[in-house]
Amino acid sequence: MGKITLRNVTKKFGDVAVIPALNLDIENGEFVVFVGPSGCGKSTLLRLIAGLEDTTDGSILIDGADATDTPPAKRGLAMVFQSYALYPHMSVRKNISFPLKMAGVDPAEATRKVDNAAKVLNLTSYLDRKPGQLSGGQRQRVAIGRAIVREPKAFLFDEPLSNLDAALRVNMRLEITELHQTLKTTMIYVTHDQVEAMTMADKIVVLNAGRIEQVGSPLTLYRNPANVFVAGFIGSPKMNLITGPEAEKRGATTIGIRPEHIDLSTTAGEWQGEVGVSEHLGSDTFLHVHVPGMPTLTVRAGGEYGVHHGDRIFLTPQADKMHRFGADGKAM
């Protein structure tokens, strides 16, 4: 079980409302990702759920029971920290079994649980090492192991992959997703990386300045961003947001078109521009095109696309994939 409900949860530091009243339902077994730029309050929100911060107002329900004033240890949640927060003087085995020891679990039972967790996480041969002797990815797994053995109602991850290098990050992303499919436990995951959000989440919560901008499945957010902020935040490379006469022509304040929804041609098209930087990735080519009267547009061309700096190029946005936003920033 792991249903978490936030009702009007508010957090103020002094007079500054980091999180204005916020409502959110997290269903049992869901993988929910909080995503947003740094300083948007996503980590604070996670810490409120964990109980490491006190709410200023509102209530947090875990499985229907009010947990607002319950101390962190009693909430039945496990957290994986950004710095891993392993205990440096304890071996991996002791690190993982620490919560069990604190809970007074029988040592034989604890050993069995630690061995199981180690097997799941490929840590069996490292159990007697100290955290200092492990690589970043292994430390990450120890931190997850420490969370697993508690058999929590929900896992909380606070930017767990931000200290890993790019290749390892992709690996761990897969491992965490797989873990979620095996355990089927609720997971709440905080990140500033929209790629992590898109690839892992069942449900993404986009936060900005403490407010929820939009909640939905990754593809809902991709297809129908509710506002300019979500449109600009979800998707890589970022959606092109255009204001001015071109937007007014289509009856909107801002129009948005994703790089992959612009057709390229060297002969004819709606907009004419000059190629600036082109990024050749092999599988894709990203062109940064300067069109007069518009910001630099990013365009994705499939495969290898042979244009160079200074070349003239014609762009045609796919009309049905265009997003229109009103003066209030909301989608029309």
């Binding site: 240890a73 949640l77 496990a78 920290f81 927060a85 205990y87 003087h89 620490f98 604190m102």
Partner: protein
């Protein structure tokens, strides 16, 4: 630039400093060593004769030596215990956020800046004096007999004075160590269900071992040579109740005018200090490695 040439130049340039330091150390040491084999009494100057190991024999068989040895050990261990335990407690307190934290921290460190002679005199005359001391006043106010600290518990009183001086040092080092304890680790332990007490035992104490090691090492070096506090309070007495090795060497050479015996005592003290240093380094080297 580690060319042969620059290395030679470097050696040449540091040699004055090295030679000066070497002389500074070697000359007094070898003179002490030389004196320790002489029958050298200040009352009979110019009458020095070779004494062989007699000075060592008399110093080491002197009953005062054994009481001085045990006093030294009790003094060092006693002060270390008080400062480490008290230092951890104070550091934990000072680490809590409270109003006026900055001022309080400065005040806590203040005793370290008071000269040993001065602080010992203040303690002797203003606190421990059986007639005018504050403790005597308190005792009288409670209707009790004033306690004459320096004559009835001389060593304990000196331990108290020295510990008061060194407590700020221990507190300071332990406080900085405490502040470097990772917050996320504590939060992780909190989520793991560890109580405040368990977090102290399993996180804080292991984290502090290194700082405690440093405190023990540095304090031991200084505590083996405690002298001023004894000189201005008890003069090593009553009898030899508060005489440590350093004070015994002083008494031997300057109160008994026996430079030879005092030098022998000095060499014994150097050897003992080195034995302690070797053990400490062994113990501590392991702790500092990790």
């Amino acid at each position: 630039m580690a060319t042969q040439h620059s290395r030679t130049a470097a050696r040449l340039m540091i040699s004055p400093a090295v030679i000066l330091l070497l002389l500074w150390m070697i000359v007094p040491l070898s003179m002490t060593l030389y004196f320790s084999f002489l029958r050298y009494n200040l009352l009979m100057p110019g009458m020095e004769t070779w004494a062989g190991f007699d000075n060592y024999y008399y110093f080491l068989t002197d009953p005062a030596f054994f009481s001085a040895l045990s006093n030294t050990i009790i003094l060092v261990v006693g002060v270390l215990l008080i400062t480490v335990i008290g230092g951890v407690a104070l550091a934990l307190l000072l680490d809590q956020p409270f109003w006026g934290q900055g001022v309080v921290r400065v005040l806590v460190i203040a005793p370290f800046f008071v000269m040993p002679t001065v602080s010992a005199l203040v303690w002797k005359n203003m606190f421990m004096n059986p007639v005018n001391g504050m403790f005597a006043h308190i005792a009288k106010a409670l209707g009790l007999q004033p306690f004459d600290f320096l004559s009835h518990a001389p060593l304990a009183s000196i331990i108290l004075i020295v510990a008061w001086q060194w407590l700020p040092f221990a507190t300071l080092i332990l406080l900085t160590a405490l502040q470097s304890l990772d917050r996320e680790q504590q939060e992780a332990a909190e989520m793991d269900g560890a109580s405040v007490f368990a977090r102290f035992i399993y996180l804080t104490v292991p984290h502090l071992t290194r700082a405690v090691t440093v405190v023990v090492l540095i304090q031991t070096i200084f505590l083996l040579g405690v002298f001023a506090e004894i000189l201005v309070t008890t003069n090593g007495g009553p009898g030899t109740a508060s005489t440590n090795i350093t004070y015994l060497v002083y008494a031997q050479s300057l109160l008994n005018y026996d430079v030879g015996g005092g030098s022998a005592g000095g060499i014994v003290a150097v050897i003992l200090a080195n034995i302690v240093a070797i053990f400490l380094m062994r113990m501590i080297g392991k702790n500092l490695d990790a």
